[in-house]
Every structure is written in structure tokens, then in C-alpha cells.
């Protein structure tokens, strides 16, 4: 790994679950990402922050396969997945939620979550149509049990039969998380899981994310604008600005970084602007 030494806490011997190497993404003349590298270790809760248009979602799209980076490599679990199709990534253990709600709005909550188990189910259109004969029913019921575990965990029992499109915003976000969890991913990508939520919903969501990370052992990459949450629950944070990586490190270190303050968090006093940027090497 050719990581810059900026992230002091990151340089340990544990091999990375996700290794992003020198990713660049261009749309014609627009550079959405330029030469971004970072890695995420197994069991880590990693946050990406930055101003609007900084390339956070583009970064996530490169990892989830929506975009193919113009340069660089994405290595997941020791395997180069840079060119892998998005639907194949579910099978190797990458799940995600979307910034704008992306539920199957005409399906029930239960069916939405069952779609998350698509790659784990074996029945096909033929055995599915026979249902009782080819073992499809047995399999569906087994997986229903697993889905119910996820439903219990995210506390959405009361809406499991409701049509997804009729739910409130906060609940939909939770169903979307449930769907991604049902995939049983090793790495889960959360794109602004708390956007547009009130304080109580945010607290709940933060709890779920921490539980997923600590109890379910999932590695998480999260994009979030709520600095309180990000700094409280993340193990490490990366800051993007104009498609470049500003800094990466533990929350406290990132918070203290004058460049980050200038680009994103806002300055408290003028002296930071005049301070020399020598302290930061990233």
C-alpha cells in the first residue's frame, strides 16, 4: 500500500478489507476524483466527509461498481474488483444504501428485504413457479426467518407488510438499511444514512450503525454530513475536497486539521487562514 503517512493511526499490520489505490474519475473534462487512495481494515467504521460536490458519492459509486474509475484500482478482500459488474459485487460481499431513497416502492417491506437476499437464494423461475414441488417454499421460509432477524434488529416489525412507498422518510431509510444488511455483506456502504432525519431518528440510526459494526462485525464506510455523529462513532475519517483527499485519520486529528476547517467545517478565527499549511502532508 502506498498510503501517505498522514493517517497516523492507520498504519498497522492488519491487511485491508478494502484497498482503494490511486482512483481517478473523469467525466469528460470534469475531474470528479483525482488520485485518491485509502484503505479500510476489517471491522472498521470509516467515514468520508467533505463539502457538497467533493466526490464522496462518486467514491462510493466506484467501490460499488456504479462507475468504473478512469485510473487506479479497487481491491476488495484481496481481489481486484475495479471492473467487476455491480450485481457481482453483492455476491462477494459489498452492500450499500443510497443517498436518495432507492426502495422498490411498490413492494412490501418484507419483499424489499427479501430482494436483498437475492444472491443467497437458489430457486429460479421454474422452481419458483412450482413453489411447493421444487423446494422453493422451504427455501423461501428459511430465508424469511433470516429476514425477520434483520427486521427485529432494525425495529420495523410493525411495517413489514406495508408497501414501501407508503412509509415515512425515516422508516424508509431504515428499510433500506435492512435491505442492505439482509445481503449479509462484509462491507456495507452507507450514503448519508441520516440525511433529513430529526434528532431522535438520528440517534436511533447511529445506534444501529454502531451495533452493525460491533455486534454483527460488519465493516462500514459511511458518508455523512452530521459532524457530531461522524466524530462520535467513526474509527477513522477521510476528508475529500474537489475530488482530492485532504486528510485521513482519527476523528480528533481530522477535526484539528486546519485544511479541513478551511475547506469544510468553517473557521473559528482568522489565524488559521494565515497559518502555514506545512503541518499537513496529505
Amino acid at each position: 500500500m502506498s498510503l501517505p503517512a498522514a493517517s497516523a493511526g492507520a498504519a498497522t499490520g492488519v491487511s485491508a478489507l478494502l484497498d482503494v489505490q490511486n482512483i481517478s474519475l473523469r467525466f469528460g473534462g470534469l475531474k470528479a476524483l483525482s488520485d485518491v487512495s485509502f484503505h479500510v481494515r476489517p471491522g472498521e467504521l470509516f467515514s468520508i466527509i467533505g463539502p457538497n460536490g467533493a466526490g464522496k458519492t462518486s467514491m462510493l459509486n466506484c467501490i460499488s461498481g456504479r462507475y468504473t474509475p478512469s485510473d487506479g484500482r479497487v481491491v476488495f478482500d484481496g481481489r481486484d474488483v475495479t471492473k467487476l459488474k455491480p450485481n457481482r459485487r453483492a455476491e462477494i460481499g459489498i452492500g450499500r444504501t443510497f443517498q436518495n431513497l432507492a426502495l422498490f416502492s411498490h413492494m412490501s417491506v418484507l419483499d424489499n428485504i427479501m430482494v436483498g437476499r437475492h444472491h443467497l437464494l437458489k430457486n429460479n423461475f421454474f422452481t419458483g413457479a412450482l413453489y411447493w414441488i421444487g423446494g422453493a417454499q422451504k427455501e423461501e421460509l428459511e430465508h424469511r426467518r433470516k429476514v425477520e432477524e434483520v427486521i427485529d434488529f432494525l425495529d420495523i416489525q410493525h411495517v413489514r407488510k406495508a408497501t414501501a412507498g407508503t412509509l415515512s422518510y425515516g422508516l424508509r431509510k431504515r428499510v433500506e438499511l435492512a435491505r442492505a444488511v439482509a445481503l449479509e455483506p462484509k462491507l456495507i456502504l452507507l450514503d448519508e444514512p441520516m440525511a433529513g432525519m430529526n434528532l431522535e431518528e438520528k440517534e436511533d440510526m447511529a445506534r444501529y450503525i454502531v451495533d452493525l459494526n460491533e455486534e454483527w462485525g460488519m465493516t462500514i464506510i459511511m458518508i455523512e454530513h452530521d459532524m457530531g455523529v461522524v466524530m462520535d462513532i467513526s474509527h477513522r475519517v477521510m476528508v475529500l475536497d474537489f475530488g482530492r483527499k485532504l486528510v485521513e485519520g482519527e476523528p480528533a486529528a481530522v477535526l484539528a486539521d486546519p485544511h479541513v476547517r478551511k475547506a469544510y467545517l468553517g473557521e473559528e478565527d482568522l489565524e488559521i487562514e494565515e497559518a502555514a499549511p506545512a503541518a499537513v502532508s496529505a
Binding site: S64, R66, K85, P86, N87, R88, R89, A90, E91, G95, R96, F98, A102, L103, F104, S105, H106, M107, S108, D111, M114, V115, G116, H118, H119, L121, K122, N123, N124, F125, T127, G128, A129, L130, Y131, A136, Q137, E140, L141, R144, R145, E148, K161, A162, T163, R179, L183
Partner: protein, 356 residues
């Protein structure tokens, strides 16, 4: 998409199996079985005219269900459904002519049509919406032309003779007996589709329709499922067409035009896109609408309206106009179709008289 409110009080589910049933209450199941039993008795007393209408509803209903799987469930469009219906008919007539037993020929015709549907569904892997509509329009014209030219297969413009339906030596061709054949295929076809939609691949089809980006992230192969929808849709169309061919005893390229394809679209729009029973309701509506127009016209014969509009001469035009008019009215007032209306009626009576 079950309406939980339709479950009676105290109906608690204690196993996942009990919760995944097709029929939400025992009463519904009993009603459905009674309805099928009642249908089994119809040939005993119904007239040939009524029976022929019901058979027509049967084979068209199967084909309409196929189109609904494609348009309603997987969110794609096809304006060439009639030629797949026709292909099934020709294939079955062809196979029966070559000595294949008719029941087997019908199933094989379904499979052949699946293959043809998959080929013409290939553009679906790359294009969506209006562009796909044009691609299926090409299928309509290509196959229609093929039917006229491929005389070895279809008998060209003269058409092909389809052997009567026999099963283990029993002749099941007349209206009263063929009715059971069609009923069997309808029941099996509709149960199959219902099961499909509550298992893995059916869910994937709906997921692709509702949000293809997130479906892809959930591991659904978009190309595979978009093409598969065409395959399944054509299979149903082929079976429907084959049943038609052996009912009439004759298959011809006439009538397999684009208007017929549009009529299939009309059936599923009126019945309810994305609803399995809606496909059947829409077919019933579309079959009975021209008949009802005829009844109305003969009831009015001799009256002032008849004298002004010349109903007897204009009846064919009026039928076409009525079909167009109903589709427009449904799109405006009941875009979710008859199936939705039926759900509302059920909910109304469930809560009657305390609807709030």
C-alpha cells in the same frame, strides 16, 4: 402486497408458512375452490355461445397474463404481443401436423415461442422505454412477414390446419369438452405466475421495474432479468396462441396485426398493470365489451337512436371506438385497473358500515 387490514381480527399467524399463503384467509380459498368447481359445471347448462366466450377469455387471458408479466411486473413494453400469440398457434399446428400429440404440441409450442421471445427480447438488454417499444414493433412486423412467407411452417397466406385436441385417444374438441382443457391451462398458468411472483425471480423482476439501480446493487443481473421477462411473457403468449389454434382448428396470419397487440395492452391496462388476477379481469372486460355493444345495438334496433346512427352498419366501428374510449377512461379514472377497484370494494365491505 397484502392489505393487512383485510385480515379479520384474531387471525394471528403462528408460522412463516401460514404467513406466506396465496389466499389470505380460509374463506378466500374456499371461494376460489367453489368458483373453479362452479366453472367445471358450466358446460352442463351453458349455451355454446356462452362457452365459446369463456374459452375465448381463457386463451386470451393466458396470453394477457404473459404480457402483464412483461409490462406490469418487469416494467418493459411490448407492442408485438400478438405475433408471439400467433407464433404459438402456428408452432403447435405445425407440431401436431408432424405427429406430435396435441397436448405435448401445445407445451412445446410454448417453449418454441419462448426461444423466439428471448431472441426478440435481446434489445431489452440495452434499451428501455420508447426505444424498446420500437424494437418490439419491429418484432411485430418481422414475424408477421415471416408468417406470410414461411409456407412450410405456417401454410403462408392460406393458413394451417390445427389438429383437434385429443388426450389418450379421447376427443376433447367440442366447446363443452375443450372448455376443460382451457380451464386447466388457465388454472395452472395463473397459479404458476402467482408462485413466481412470490419467489426469488419474480421479486427480482419487480425490483428491476421499481428501481433498477438498487436492484443491480442487490445482486440482480439486469440483462438476465429483462430478457427473462420476455421469455416468460412469450411462453404464456405461445400457450395461449396454441390453445386458440386447436380450438378453432385453423391458424391464419389474419388478425395477428398490431391492433391485436394493442388490444392485449388494453386488457392489462384495464385489468390492472402488475396484478395477476387483473389480467383475467381485463380480458373478461375486453371480450365482453364488443358483445355488450352488440346486445345494446340489437336492443336499440328500431328506436330513434338506431335510425339516427344506423347502429347495424356502424357496429364494427363503434366497437373499435369503444375499446379506445374505455382505455382512455380507465387511464384517467382508474389507472390501477379493475384489480384495484376490486380491492377497494373488498375493503369497503370488510369495514361496512363503519368505514372510519
Amino acid at each position: 402486497m397484502a392489505l393487512t387490514s383485510l385480515r379479520p381480527c384474531g387471525d394471528y399467524r403462528t408460522s412463516y408458512k401460514a404467513d406466506q399463503t396465496i389466499f389470505q384467509t380460509r374463506l378466500t380459498l374456499v371461494f376460489v375452490i367453489l368458483a373453479i368447481a362452479a366453472l367445471c359445471c358450466t358446460p352442463l347448462f351453458a349455451s355454446r355461445y356462452v362457452l365459446s366466450l369463456m374459452i375465448q377469455i381463457g386463451y386470451l387471458g393466458i396470453a394477457a397474463l404473459g404480457l402483464n408479466i412483461l409490462v406490469g411486473f418487469s416494467g418493459q413494453i411490448s407492442i408485438g404481443h400478438a405475433v408471439f400469440f400467433g407464433f404459438g398457434g402456428f408452432a403447435s399446428a405445425f407440431l401436431a401436423d408432424k405427429g406430435v400429440p396435441v397436448p405435448l404440441a401445445i407445451v412445446l409450442a410454448g417453449l418454441w415461442t419462448t426461444v423466439v421471445g428471448l431472441i426478440f427480447g435481446l434489445p431489452a438488454a440495452r434499451v428501455k422505454g420508447l426505444y424498446l417499444a420500437i424494437a418490439t414493433l419491429a418484432a411485430q412486423f418481422i414475424l408477421q412477414d415471416f408468417f406470410v412467407r414461411a409456407e412450410w411452417f405456417t401454410g403462408g397466406t392460406h393458413g394451417a390446419i390445427a389438429a383437434p385436441f385429443t388426450l389418450f385417444g379421447y376427443d376433447l374438441s367440442g366447446d363443452a369438452r375443450y372448455f376443460y382443457v382451457v380451464l386447466f391451462f388457465v388454472v395452472v398458468g395463473y397459479i404458476g405466475a402467482t408462485n413466481l411472483m412470490r419467489s426469488r425471480d419474480g421479486r427480482a423482476l419487480i425490483a428491476v421495474r421499481d428501481h433498477y439501480l438498487s436492484a443491480e446493487m442487490m445482486g440482480v443481473n439486469l440483462t438476465k432479468y429483462r430478457t427473462m421477462a420476455f421469455g416468460i411473457s412469450s411462453f404464456y403468449a405461445g400457450i395461449g396462441g396454441a390453445l386458440y389454434a386447436h380450438y378453432v382448428g385453423f391458424m391464419s396470419v389474419e388478425g395477428l396485426d398490431i391492433l391485436f397487440s394493442i388490444q392485449f395492452l388494453g386488457m392489462i391496462i384495464i385489468g390492472g398493470l402488475g396484478s395477476i388476477m387483473g389480467s383475467l379481469m381485463g380480458t373478461v372486460f375486453m371480450v365482453l365489451l364488443p358483445e355488450a355493444t352488440g346486445w345494446l345495438a340489437s336492443a336499440l334496433s328500431g328506436s330513434v337512436i338506431d335510425q339516427v346512427l344506423h347502429l347495424k352498419d356502424g357496429i364494427t366501428y363503434m366497437r373499435e371506438m369503444l375499446i379506445g374510449l374505455t382505455i382512455i377512461l380507465f387511464l384517467i379514472f382508474e389507472p390501477d385497473g379493475l384489480a384495484h377497484r376490486w380491492r377497494l370494494i373488498k375493503a369497503y365491505w370488510k369495514l361496512y358500515p363503519f368505514s372510519y
